[in-house]
């Protein structure tokens, strides 16, 4: 096994372990931190896949944005020092079984299905290419989604504000 493969397995282990802890930890703040580690690990995986841009985006958006937001909302809404209630036993068993079964099923399907590279040649997933393709108005260009994203963000922002501000006067 080459060094690179070793790195991959360590990373995957890290991602899965942190993910598992994130959903299992009883302390909500720790849970958020484990989620953070898991997401960082995924960014590492992208680095390993030589998709640096996506990795950076992953860090910027998930780690720098979403997790911070989650932490803030934990401060706001939770007794973050208290333990979360343990899941109901029956429900936990059901969940484990369901998730396990689902996992097995999918895994079997994946094993059965052979993946074959379709395309030939490679394209450098550099930011330049991404940018060029994003801005191009040709058939494979993504300029429309690019603009649509801004509308989506606008909608999200307005939505957030409307929802979050709604109860403000009563607070004051």
């Amino acid at each position: 096994m080459s060094a690179s493969a070793v790195v991959f397995y360590i990373l995957s282990f890290f991602i899965l372990a942190a993910g598992l802890l994130a959903v299992a930890s009883r302390k909500i703040f720790r849970s958020a931190i484990w989620l953070l580690f898991s997401l960082t690990g995924i960014a590492g995986l992208y680095f390993w896949l030589q998709m640096e841009f996506i990795a950076a985006v992953q860090i910027v958006v998930y780690v720098g944005g979403i997790v911070v937001l989650i932490i803030f909302s934990i401060f706001l809404t939770q007794q973050s020092g208290k333990d979360l209630p343990a899941p109901v036993r029956s429900r936990a068993i059901f969940s484990v079984l369901a998730a396990g079964a689902g996992f097995m099923l999918t895994w079997l399907m994946i094993r059965r299905y052979g993946f074959h590279p379709v395309g030939q040649g490679t394209i450098d997933a550099s930011v330049g290419n991404i940018g060029a393709q994003m801005l191009s108005t040709s058939e494979h260009g993504y300029v429309l989604p690019f603009e649509v994203i801004s509308i989506l963000l606008l909608a999200a922002m307005i939505g957030c504000i409307v929802i979050a501000i709604k109860t403000k006067p009563e607070d004051k």
Binding site: T77, A132, M134
Partner: protein, 116 residues
Amino acid sequence: MGSASLIVLFFAGVAFAAGGIAVARFFVKGTKNLQKGQAYECGIPTTGTPWNQFNIGYYLYALIFLIFDVELVFMYPWAVAVKKVGMAALGEIVIFLFILFMGFLYAHKKGALKWM
């Protein structure tokens, strides 16, 4: 060096921090007393725990930040490509920013950027 450097730097960081902390562990025998481990609050025993709900006005900023952060992410590839694409890119970004700026104005108007 390539991406291996990340691993190297990561471990350098770990080693640095761990080394520093270990020295004190090894050499310093701290005295123990009852009050040492308690939280510091200007010399007065704390009451209650900060791990509680906490009324903060910061989260709206974080919400809006997240939106702008995503916008920023899309602007990196744009910025790299802008010279190649030329004027069209400027137009595209003007539309893009204009739409977001609307949201910004809206937020401003609604008072989301005012401190609560």
